[in-house]
């Protein structure tokens, strides 16, 4: 707790200093870098301190700091339990990496833009996210949440001269405020029922099932907007490409995870939900997962593609969360425990590998000055660092063995399969549907990253043969190497992180779990690494044989064989759209394609063009009609807003009179 407070105060003081010195970019940058490193260091210490304790730290047993009367209607009441600590861990790791990278990334803008303000806002975002994660009072939570949203808006609109960026920021602001509305209603309802705005009092209250399900729907809407569940996701694929990459990494790795944290916190507080809440979450998760990856397949803009993959991974996390809730509703504690563990671990892993992917994509964008994959190709040779790190990120996100994605996807599968084994028919139907969805997600994600990595880094460059791309320096490589190392470490030695996730999962279920179940989860993972070791031995043997043979029969280098066609240009390579076309064609009935072309009508062909893009169906068929409807209604009610101050004062007077009458009555 102490180290977290130190970390918070370092961030507060240094952000003020950065603002003070924002004219001198050198000083502000140095303050930023060092305060970031120390603050994240202290933050990590506090997170580890809680996670490494032998006894589990339940929400009721956390070390608290409570200052009365500091916030209107609430109090400054914070505390770290194991759940908060787990999220703090991933949050500080990623914000450290993204911050250092951002420092390196934004150097080229020094003098052109006010980078100092950006850095100060970055610190502000870190402070409020920390507060959201440790708040134990609903009012404090909502205030921090609101500042987080607004600080996020300013960070996203860094390139504010562009119309598209401003629009993306605007949509982000509106979408998240719709979420805040739901959250406020939810917390007020809970507070009114429990008689206190403090989380521990709320948690001590038993909620009737009807109220619990209503609260869950509000929580799903409020936190779901932030987390980016389909169809509440539309801000996400717009805001991610608009922001500078390190902010995208932070948004995708942490900010949307705060939505997941919120859902988990609600599960901690309310505990008993009716069965259908878990089922609904599972279904929405499956839709988000499959939908997210299908939309990602249709994207050619690298950051947009990664943004849709965040939606997919939120789906995977929520699959674990959903099966956990279903298991709890069936009183199958093992299913619930594995489900929550899987959700937590995938949250961590996604933060790490998605951060890595965004940052390495940033290195590509920085050197090519374009995010369009169709213009790239062959970058593996010119940007080897970005290439190798992107490859590690891709292998992790596809969930391949040896990397961290495999561990958490294995756990999600394990939770769902335990659900198939231990639940009744109704439960089996939904868990097996989720298994199907998760397998499909895995396959499609592999396809999508084969496309992304293949088109960007492999083959030949599609625009020019002459390339003068320059790679970043150690300030940019360092953070990425850190993240890549974590991907490997969790993939090869899963035990420690899984134990961390156990602590968090116990904080969610609220009961200590026997050692037997923990070993039943960990031991297979350790045996799995043994299989991988066997694979590694075979690999080494194969390498050795090949080495021997190539010594005897030397290798020749030549052009790629193109089936006897001599004049091959780089434009003839398979493009991202053509690579993804077969699979999108199979799913065309549930996707919405927009194809524009000039039909050839004369005998002699003229210049013509064809463009096709994948549109977001939930935006075009669900949200747009809905908002047009709201717009129509508000236009009819426009006369209320006359614009005269006097009339507004009159309204207030009327309201007061009505309140007075109501009270006297």
């Amino acid at each position: 707790m102490l180290s977290l407070l130190i970390s918070l105060s370092i961030l507060t003081i240094s952000s003020l200093f950065i603002l003070l010195f924002s004219q001198s970019r050198r000083i502000s940058a140095y303050i930023f870098l060092w305060s970031l490193v120390t603050a994240c260091g202290f933050g990590l210490v506090s997170a580890f301190g809680v996670l490494c304790q032998k006894a589990i730290v339940l929400p009721s047993m956390s070390m608290d700091l409570r200052v009365l009367g500091t916030i209107p209607l609430g109090e400054f009441y914070i505390g770290i339990d194991a759940l908060s600590a787990f999220f703090l861990l991933l949050f500080f790791i990623l914000s450290l990496a993204a911050g250092i990278y951002g420092y390196g990334y934004l150097r080229e803008y020094a003098g052109k833009r006010n980078v100092g303000v950006h850095f100060a806002l970055y610190h502000l975002l870190l402070i409020v996210i920390t507060l959201v994660l440790v708040a134990k009072n609903a009012i404090l939570f909502l205030m921090a949440w609101e500042i987080m949203t607004v600080a996020g808006y300013f960070l996203i609109t860094f390139y504010n001269e562009s119309e598209g960026v401003r629009k993306a920021g605007y949509i982000y602001l509106i979408a998240t405020h719709v979420g805040v509305f739901c959250l406020t209603v939810m917390f007020l309802a809970m507070g009114a029922y429990a008689g206190s705005m403090n989380f521990d009092r709320m948690a001590a209250t038993q909620y009737p099932l009807g109220l619990a399900s209503l609260l869950f729907i509000l929580a799903f809407l409020g936190f779901g907007v932030k987390a980016g569940f389909i169809p509440l996701h539309i801000w996400l694929p717009r805001a991610h490409p608009a922001a500078p990459v390190h902010i995208s990494a932070l948004l995708s790795g942490v900010v949307i995870k705060v939505g997941i944290y919120g859902l988990m916190r609600i599960i901690v507080i309310i505990k008993d939900f009716p069965l259908w809440c878990g089922v609904m979450l599972l279904i929405m998760a499956a839709i988000s997962g499959v939908g997210g990856v299908l939309y990602a397949l249709g994207q050619h803009e690298i950051k947009k593609l990664l943004a849709y993959h965040s939606i997919e991974n939120i789906g995977i996390i929520a699959l674990g969360l959903g099966i956990g809730m279903i298991g709890h509703a069936y009183h199958q504690d093992a299913v619930a425990f594995i489900g929550y563990t899987a959700a937590l671990l995938h949250t961590f892993n996604h933060a790490v590998f998605k951060g890595l992917l965004f940052l390495s994509a940033g290195s590509v964008i920085r050197s090519t000055h374009s995010g369009d994959m169709e213009e790239m190709g062959g970058l593996f040779k010119v940007l080897p660092w970005a290439g190798h790190l992107f490859l590690i990120g891709s292998l992790s996100i596809c969930g391949f063995p040896l990397f961290n994605g495999f561990i958490s996807e294995w756990l999600v599968f394990r939770a769902l399969l335990e659900g198939v084994f231990r639940l009744d028919v109704f439960g089996i139907i939904f868990s097996s549907m989720a298994i199907g969805a998760l397998t499909l997600i895995g396959g499609l994600a592999a396809l999508c990253f084969a496309k992304a990595f293949g088109v960007i880094f492999l083959g030949r460059n599609r625009t020019s043969e002459e390339q003068h791309y320059k790679e970043g320096d150690w300030l940019m490589h360092g953070p990425m190497i850190l993240l890549a190392a974590i991907c490997f470490w969790v993939g090869i030695f899963p035990a420690s992180m899984v134990y961390g996730a156990f602590q968090g999962a116990q904080a969610i279920t609220g009961v200590a779990v026997g050692l037997g179940l923990k070993e039943a989860i960990i031991d297979p993972l350790i045996l799995a690494t043994r299989v991988l070791l066997f694979g590694g031995i075979i690999f080494v043997a194969l390498v050795f044989i090949r080495k021997m043979l190539t010594l005897e029969y030397p290798v020749r280098l030549t052009e790629t064989w193109c089936c006897a066609y001599a004049h091959v240009t780089s434009r003839m390579q398979y493009t991202a759209s053509s690579f993804a076309r077969p699979i999108l064609k199979i799913f065309r009935s549930i996707l919405f394609f927009k194809v524009e072309s000039n039909r050839l009508q004369e005998y002699f062909a003229r210049e013509t063009k064809l463009s096709s893009s994948l549109k977001d169906a939930s935006e075009y068929f669900l949200l747009r009609p809905f908002f047009y409807f709201i717009k129509r209604i508000s236009r009819k009610l426009k006369w209320i807003q006359s614009g005269h101050t006097q009339i507004y004062i009159l309204y207030i007077l009327f309201l007061l009179v009505i309140l007075l009458i109501w009270k006297l009555h």
Binding site: V531, G536, T560
Partner: protein
């Protein structure tokens, strides 16, 4: 223990190319030819090993590493698979997930290697392989879930040698559906004829072969060998589902297992000789029918448990 381990590894490593020999022989029989000798796949591997590799100037290390990584991943999946009544060297609760992911990994690296050459033909093959692969993966996993539910085990070694022996009398129809579905998946995953023709000559119609156009020498040998092992593993899955009876004598069981595998190879050969290759846009329908088979099987099981 050591004998079992050794026998398992030996059968897994040595036997697979033999299957290709039997398939070739069957096809030759239907064509009225004598055909290449049964050991021809071994001769081919030997020949390829003694040829120098040619690499594209465009390619990176991914192109060179991919055949080795993919073959190693397939063999690693192989040691999870029980053969005859031989317990696999490693088994654990939930190894079916690793099993499926290892195959996906093996496919992924080959797809990357194909894209690494920058050839449009190989990009085309990679795109097709990845598409069909991700559809067959879901069917494979669903079938394994059904089998896990029937045998109450999440481990391949719990499912295959004896876990299902009582299921045939109880839920025979379900197992027939699963066997048919798995056989279709076997054809898809190993690029056999109704889906892909391993001996075709036009690159535009190929799926798997076109991905490895640029591989040569020892790399190509690795890829061929890996494919043979993959066919062997999928085949042993189908065979152990059909023949659940075991004598519990190590050598007799292994002998019968090899006979059964040869029978399967002959069956594949018959399918290949009597059918024409499907048009590419019909392949998804075949995959969906395989998926439907396993979903229907699942529904039957659920109906029984009510």
């Amino acid at each position: 223990m050591n004998v079992i381990l050794l026998l398992h590894i030996t059968v897994l490593f040595v036997f697979p190319p033999f299957l290709l020999g039997f398939i070739g022989k069957t096809k030759a029989f239907f064509a009225g030819r004598i055909g290449p000798p049964l050991l021809q796949p071994y001769f081919d591997l030997y020949k390829l090993m003694r040829k120098a590799s040619v690499y594209s100037l465009t390619a990176n290390w991914i192109f060179k590493a991919a055949p080795m990584v993919s073959t190693a991943a397939i063999l690693a999946a192989g040691i999870l698979m029980p053969i005859a009544s031989l317990k696999p060297p490693v088994q654990f609760w939930g190894d079916i997930i690793l099993f499926v992911y290892l195959f996906a990994f093996a496919r992924f690296v080959i797809v990357l290697a194909a894209l690494d050459t920058g050839s449009s033909f190989e990009g085309m093959g990679a795109s097709r392989e990845a598409t069909f692969g991700c559809l067959s993966e879901i069917t494979l996993f669903l079938n394994l879930t059904i089998l896990a539910l029937l045998s109450r085990s999440l481990s391949l070694s719990g499912i295959f040698p004896g876990g299902l022996s009582s299921s045939w009398s109880l839920v025979g129809p379900v197992l027939i559906l699963v066997v048919v579905s798995l056989f279709l998946i076997l054809l898809v995953e190993n690029s056999r004829i109704p889906i892909d023709d391993p001996d075709t000559h036009l690159e535009l119609t190929m799926i798997h072969e076109v991905m490895v156009l640029d591989h040569s020498g020892v790399d190509l040998a690795y890829i061929f060998y890996g494919k043979a092992v993959k066919l062997f593993i999928f085949g042993s899955m189908v065979v152990s589902l059909i023949f659940t009876f075991k004598t519990h004598n190590l050598w007799i069981d292994t002998f019968f297992f090899i006979l059964e595998m040869i029978g399967l190879a002959v069956l594949i050969g018959i399918v290949e000789s009597t059918m024409a290759r499907l048009r590419l846009n019909k392949v998804p329908y075949l995959l969906f029918s395989a998926l439907m088979f396993s979903i229907i099987g699942f529904i039957i099981i659920l109906a029984r448990t009510i």
